[in-house]
Subunit: 191 residues, 2 copies
């Protein structure tokens, strides 16, 4: 059984996030991916949350009801898919912290996963939403690894300024809302 601190608000109560146009970060990204899908730009989906199912009831022939289940630790990242023939893989995180992004927000095996993707010629990164600044950054895996390695004997977070310096600010828009593929285009050009 996993300590999953953010899950409570996510499922039981409606999120009351009033920053960045009143929408949760997850929904903002899902909406963006939907835009990419409908316009045949990319096929990128959020993976379902991994669940360990223990008990299922069958009150009727047509419907199964899961009566007992638990959250599992995700073995990979939340989003993956294909864009311009390239494999895309990323994790999205938000923080209310003004000055830094705590590395405890990402599991070590997720960082390792992102690193493997790069090794296999995919494009992997982290999207970070600083709610206090109403800003979203794309931070490439190579930087995440550097900051993670530094954290082993020091600072357990990435400073906001460091993300500003090493990451890409994603310009906000209406449609698509979080146009992160514009940044991926820059990364592809460079590679």
């Amino acid at each position: 059984m996993i300590n999953y601190p953010n899950k409570k608000s996510k499922f039981v109560t409606k999120k009351t996030n009033h920053s960045n146009r009143g929408m949760s970060f997850e929904n903002m990204i899902n909406e963006t991916n939907e835009y990419y899908l409908v316009h045949d730009i990319a096929i990128i989906h959020k993976k379902p949350i991994p669940i360990q199912i223990v008990k299922v009831d069958y009150p009727s022939r047509s419907g199964a009801v899961i009566k007992e289940a638990y959250y599992k630790v995700p073995s990979t990242t939340d989003y993956n898919g294909i864009y311009k023939g390239k494999y895309i893989d990323f994790e999205a995180k938000e923080t209310v912290n003004k000055t830094s992004f705590p590395l405890s927000n990402i599991h070590l095996h997720q960082i390792e996963h992102l690193q493997s993707i790069e090794k296999h010629q995919g494009i992997s990164f982290l999207l970070i939403f600083f709610k206090a600044h109403d800003e979203i950054y794309l931070l490439e895996t190579k930087h995440i690894i550097n900051f993670y390695n530094r954290s082993k004997d020091g600072r357990k977070s990435i400073k906001y300024e460091e993300i500003k310096e090493n990451g890409y600010l994603i310009k906000e828009g209406y449609s698509p809302r979080v146009d992160y593929l514009k940044i991926v285009d820059k990364i592809l050009l460079r590679k």
Copy 2:
């Protein structure tokens, strides 16, 4: 709520599948993917089953218990990942039918998804396990689409002989168990 005929045996009782070395098809593929992962050959994962969570309890601070949830129709396929820099996407299905594979086993939107992946330069296919023959075939998306189009005004299944003729038989082995990437290599050579 979805009619999900195979889910019952999957979660409530242990599968008693004695063909093909006593292992469920899903586990055979998961084991293969684990082999690919550990040997740094490819990063391919099964996506979690999509669930609509309705009610969650918090009996203790450390653990959330899902008390009511429902199966959702998957919007994509079960497996995706990266191999030799290529985006890989497939669905795996088993049948006890000796003479044909019923097309009702695949959702239309899954076929559409496989088709989109090809369009975006990914590699997509179907793995079909004929339990009665103890044989696994890889059938590329282009064939699935042809057979699907034919089914609109006729036969609602693909004949075993047609799969033999158009698909690739995957040689069985111990490690990896279902070495489908060997077939993907052939496809990549041709492309």
